[in-house]
């Protein structure tokens, strides 16, 4: 790890010197802090009954409460509390016996009340951890990322900036606000500071967010799609000289919209801080925005002139005291930890590490497991999903899960091949047919006539035709020159339009020719 990256803010500003990542980690050690916001997939909003459907027409899912109209009052969504507790339990947190909502006061046009109902000093869950594994020079290594707190809050509206370039806020003439998203439940997960990652800070950050995403997905509490905004990550980075005790000044980076961006953002910030510190300059405590195209961050609001949020207990809501019995019930309902599940499946299916990593990277684990559960051999199931089906998905530029072929279909195809009713070649055509919407495997086989020809009489007829057409070749085989059989087999395959079981043909042919 630790590729040499000559990513440089100095060079971006047109100066000569560029600092490499190696330079940075030789002198400094990073300290991380990660804040992840999860949009819950509840049917209704956090404090009102408006629907939460993604992509609805603007301002069609709003009401006096989520529009912050005078006189409106919030009432808590019980499913949001349940999901928050599940998240906390899955992260090994304690569920606090008493938690309260607070108002976080600040002004922004997409904030209907100009305060956010959140939780301040009494969050719903505290003190947990997530173990992540990364690849280091010395092999796989585990890091424990400690969780400070998990708390509930609400999302803001969305703004469209009109008039500027690329819809960005800078240079826009005016903005258009849609409050469909305002009030959707958010859960914020905050880590304690993460020291001791050394040069692997970017990888640890990425692995943490990836693991978190998998855990949340296994709980079924969120769509966790970073590109859709249902999982958002803010990365806090600071540097200190190796061996120093006091923490350096941190910066917060937002707009990190993918796992890869998490890694790049952390690495980029480490380099930027180091460049400043090396020059004897101060790191400014501020919010920065990650830019996908350059991998650099841009300065946003300075946190030094920070808003004073003037937190106080939310008077319109009463405290939450989750029943201990209910918490235990939820704990018992937790699904298997993703890491443990992956290890178990890898063992059960005897998958080599590289292939396992490939399957996980392709996000194919669930779909392969579903196929195996329906009776398919794991290796074959994996082969289909990561092979032919992935190829087609890439062609169409979609995810394998979005294709019209299901685990049941693949399981059936695997079964048909193993029974000899389909050859691999034919099976590929069936797969293509199912994906094209021609129906289930059986229907495709029927309509395209793709069954393996294996009955002896048909095969023998074709074999005899081939022999008749190539008497010299047949003679060669009779005389013990086995490879010559290839041409005859080819002819049989041609006659049967490739639907003959080639192995069976060979068997019958050779037997027929006395071999």
């Amino acid at each position: 790890m630790g590729r040499s990256i000559a990513l440089s803010y100095s060079s971006a500003r047109g100066c000569q010197v560029s600092l490499t990542y190696e330079d940075v980690i030789a002198k400094y050690e990073p300290v991380l802090g990660l804040e992840v916001h999860v949009e819950l997939n509840t049917h209704s909003k956090m404090f009102c009954g408006c629907a939460t459907v993604f992509g609805a027409e603007p301002n069609t899912q709003t009401c006096p409460v989520c529009l912050g109209m005078p006189g409106a009052l919030p009432v808590v969504n019980e499913k949001a509390i349940e999901s928050s507790i599940l998240i906390g339990l899955a992260l090994h947190c304690s569920v606090t016996p008493f938690s309260r909502f607070s108002r976080k006061n600040y002004f922004y046009p997409d904030m209907p009340k100009n305060f956010q109902i959140s939780q301040y000093d009494e969050p719903i869950c505290v003190n947990g951890y997530v173990d992540v594994e990364i690849e280091t020079d010395e092999g796989p290594k585990q890091f424990r990322v400690e969780i400070e707190r998990v708390h509930m809050e609400e999302d803001t509206g969305k703004s469209l900036h009109v008039g500027g370039a690329t819809g960005r806020i800078h240079g826009a003439d005016y903005s258009l606000l849609d409050f469909n998203r305002a009030g959707i439940p958010l859960v914020e997960i905050v880590t304690k500071i993460v020291p001791g990652t050394g040069k692997y800070a970017p990888e640890v950050a990425k692995a943490y967010v990836a693991e978190l995403r998998d855990i949340l997905r296994s709980l079924g509490v969120s769509d966790v799609r970073m590109e859709q905004g249902s999982l958002r990550c803010d990365a806090n980075v600071s540097l200190r000289l190796i061996g120093a005790e006091t923490l350096g000044t941190r910066s917060e980076t937002k707009n990190v919209n993918s796992l890869r961006s998490v890694e790049r953002a952390v690495r980029g910030e480490m380099i930027r801080h180091a460049e400043l510190l090396n020059k004897g300059e101060r790191v400014v405590q501020e919010t920065r925005h990650f830019q996908e195209d350059t991998g650099l961050t841009r300065s946003g609001r300075s946190k030094e002139q920070a808003e004073d949020y003037r937190y106080f207990p939310e008077p319109d809501l009463v405290p939450v005291e989750p029943d201990a019995g209910w918490i235990e019930k939820l704990r018992a309902s937790l699904p298997e930890q993703p890491t443990l599940r992956r290890k178990r499946l890898q063992e059960e299916w005897s998958v080599p590490d590289k292939e396992m990593a490939a399957m996980i990277n392709a996000d194919a684990l669930d779909i392969v497991e579903a196929t195996v559960k329906l009776g398919a051999d794991p290796t074959r199931a994996r082969g289909w999903w990561l092979g032919e089906i992935s190829r087609i998905a890439n062609e169409k530029d979609v995810a394998i899960a979005d294709l019209a072929i299901s685990p049941a279909d693949v399981a059936e195809i695997v079964s048909l091949v193993s029974k000899g009713e389909l050859t691999d070649k034919l099976a590929r055509q069936v797969v293509e047919g199912v994906i094209s919407g021609e129906g289930k495997p059986a229907q495709v086989m029927e309509s395209r006539g793709l069954k393996v020809v294996s009955d002896e009489s048909s095969l023998m007829a074709a074999i005899e035709n081939a022999i008749a057409a190539q008497p010299e070749t047949a003679e060669k085989v009779r005389n013990g020159h086995i490879p010559a059989a290839g041409a005859l087999i080819g002819a049989v395959m041609k006659e049967t339009k490739g639907q003959a079981d080639a192995a069976r043909v060979r068997e019958l042919l050779l037997a027929h020719l006395g071999q």
């Binding site: 509840t42 019980e78 919010t287 004073d308 009463v318």
Partner: protein, 99 residues
């Protein structure tokens, strides 16, 4: 107790998003002083062994089921809007960054 200077009041006005005139800032600086002196007496009895009360009622766990209820129509939602366009609230250019 603390005196609130005009700069202090200006800072509070900034936090509260109110563009006050100089006269208002001066007047408030004086008034705040008087009022704060009067209200500061709460500290006389607010000792560490007294718990604060945020809610007069001993209610807990008031929740609603996760069911969708009818929203306002977009027309009703936008009915009071100073300006609207394409079924959205139209607001002047925003200078600050999103949180």
């Amino acid at each position: 107790m603390s005196t609130l200077s005009r700069a202090d009041v200006a800072n509070l006005a900034r936090l509260a998003r109110i563009e006050m005139t100089d006269q208002e800032l001066d007047d408030l600086s004086t008034e705040m002083d008087v009022i704060l002196t009067a209200v500061a007496r709460v500290q006389e009895v607010a000792t560490s062994d007294v718990k604060p009360t945020s809610h007069p009622l001993p209610l807990r766990n008031v929740v609603r089921a996760d069911v969708v209820t009818p929203s306002l129509t977009p027309e009703a939602a936008l009915s009071g809007a100073p300006a609207n366009e394409e079924q959205r609230f139209r607001v002047p250019q925003i200078l600050g960054e999103e949180a």
